[in-house]
């Protein structure tokens, strides 16, 4: 797992989640970042599929267009990142625990924390389903996404050709 975040993002990072469409196993977050710092987490399940991707907007709403450009530039060309698969969420503080509640209510009347989630649902491919996978061998905080049939035991990242 990635280093613990230091800013308000620490309140919204879920240490684990659950895979809804592939295996119902426990998902874990992988941090993604740009030059300015963390921008979110990719949650993958024990089978390697991407369950959801959470983008941090901080106290401003993340731009869906910008997030979509980011995703599309890191996703295999055959895969279309659909605008309707991006969904906004606001975290106000009380639902995140006492520390977050104090932080949001703190000096200067801080604003709620905004997130944008991406979920690429499994797609039927003949008799099996195509899931989304992620490769994290592209530098610190970087990720590449690619679809692959869930039935395939060994997968290959089309960007770096690494097999998993």
């Amino acid at each position: 797992m990635s280093p613990s975040p230091a800013g308000p993002e620490k309140f919204v990072l879920a240490p684990f989640g659950s895979c809804l469409y592939h295996c119902s196993g426990r998902t874990r977050p992988h941090a993604i970042a740009n030059a300015r710092g963390p921008i979110g987490w990719v949650y993958t399940c024990p089978g390697g599929t991407v369950s959801t991707v959470a983008f941090l907007g901080g106290t401003r709403r993340p731009s869906p267009a910008r997030v979509r450009r980011y995703l599309q530039s890191r996703t295999e060309r055959s895969e279309h990142v659909r605008p309707r698969d991006l969904r906004a969420a606001t975290r106000h503080g009380p639902e995140l625990g006492p520390a977050a509640e104090r932080w949001v209510a703190g000096p200067g009347g801080r604003q709620p924390i905004h997130l944008l989630y991406w979920r690429r649902y499994p797609r039927k491919m003949g008799r099996s389903y195509s899931y989304l996978y992620a490769c994290f061998r592209h530098g610190a905080g970087e990720v590449r996404f690619y679809p692959a049939p869930g039935s395939r035991k060994v997968r290959q990242c089309p960007f770096c050709l690494a097999k998993t």
Partner: protein
Amino acid sequence: MPKTFPDSQPSRLTIVLADWCPHCVPLSEDRVRELGERLGIPVRRLDIDDTAEEREADALVKAHGDWSPDYLIPQVFLQWTDGRVDHILTGFPEGVSRTRRAWDELFQSEWVRHLASAREA
């Protein structure tokens, strides 16, 4: 964080949900009812699979909630006697267990305790 105003009291909770959503039913539906009891206010349920209710849900989410073309559910709103509406919770796509924890935290929060004690006073 949703603010409280001395001249206004909570008047209704609304949950936007769908029966097939595991974050919504039974988890959030039960918890919002419990919150309504704690605050002494009614709960309105808007099902996005019911055409008429979906229209209301869309308008509510667009005006006060986390709007996206295919928005997240559940979303919970608190209406006040002065007509204000506050969005208070959106489900966590990370997992149902995370949405459950959010409800637990909300119930233990200073904000809910303050609202509940103001009602009792």
